[in-house]
Symmetry: C2
Subunit: 209 residues, 2 copies
């Protein structure tokens, strides 16, 4: 298909497609004449992924380029591709060689991570977030015995198992990265909402009249 | 204790305490002279709750007044007290008589709610949020078979059971409302972070080198 049809099918304006081509986010089409190129389904899918990264993940173009480079490099494992897609929406970047900053209150979190048998990079942005929240919880006198945090860790494990099962069903590195990103971002809101509904139901059982 | 000591113990400035007294958020102390009153531990605890509602729940004073009135009215059940504390941080208000607006795409969510056996008020703010997210997921082609949403519902149920167990351990309506509010708001961030850690660990198991 020509660029005009690619635009129509994908819903992305021609000017934006040309910008993505210049920046190397979208591979060039097959040249059919000096002024024309032909695009196919792979371009449509790539545009959908870029839109998801921009609109749902709010990622800058430079970060999107990194994610796409990871997807297109067959030497990069899927684990690293997923990290490249998900780390930026957690306030970090996928960089295993970066120095890991000291995190206040990380000891309690690291004990929890060890207890669950989780294998996570110490530079994972979520490790810093979780450690910070734990410190705040202790300040507020919330859950001094750690029972609530353990229940949340159970819940997180259940959710993550579902997330990775959805990634496995996705088929293909590109769609896998898309599902990981969309599922992570949208899942935050959905989990929060479903948790409130489940809370209300449990509260009605316990205290309802 | 006098107001100056109440301020020191609670960390709330005297001017703010006087404002809360005027607005009826904090009960008056026992009058000991025309210009002095004596305060006790119940005032300290009430101030802690107000601070949590303001700082963590970002609630306006009028809404805090509603929460506190519900706590202080022995005819209001604990289920309604928890709703009064948690509904505002979910974008709603506890008002069982309010008309429930039509929600786009609520059918799929209501089927899920029925499948889980959850008992929730149709006006629950989380019901509108969850329905909206489901519509967006379908638009994005995410989880067409509903497997992922079911995994999230399992996770939400597990988290909610932990939340309500923490409320039960709290002891007292005031502290129960505080734990429900703090746990709900802080729990959103913590669940998101723990989920990312569990995802990374599961991804490493499946795809790591």
């Amino acid at each position: 298909m020509r660029v005009s049809e690619l635009s129509r099918v994908s819903g992305v304006p021609v000017a934006t497609i040309k910008y993505y081509l210049r920046e190397g986010l979208l591979p060039r089409g097959e040249t059919t004449s000096p002024n024309q190129a032909r695009y196919d389904e792979t371009h449509v899918r790539r545009l959908q992924l870029i839109r998801a990264l921009v609109e749902v993940g709010s990622m800058p173009v430079a970060v999107i380029k990194e994610v796409l480079d990871a997807i297109d490099d067959p030497d990069v494992g899927l684990h690293e591709v997923l990290g490249a897609a998900v780390y930026p929406v957690s306030g970090g970047r996928m960089d295993c060689d970066a120095e890991v900053p000291e995190i206040d209150g990380a000891a309690e979190l690291d004990a929890l991570i060890a207890e669950r048998g989780w294998h996570v990079h110490p530079g994972a942005p979520a490790r810093a977030t979780a450690a910070e929240v734990l410190v705040r919880m202790r300040e507020l006198g919330l859950d001094p015995e750690g029972t609530l945090v353990r229940a949340w860790a159970d819940a997180a494990e259940r959710a993550a198992a579902g997330d990775l099962a959805a990634v496995e069903r996705a088929g293909g590195r590109e769609r896998a990265a898309e599902v990981a990103l969309l599922g992570t971002v949208i899942g935050d809101t959905m989990l929060g909402a479903l948790r409130r509904l489940a809370q209300e139901s449990r509260s009605a059982e316990l205290y309802g009249s």
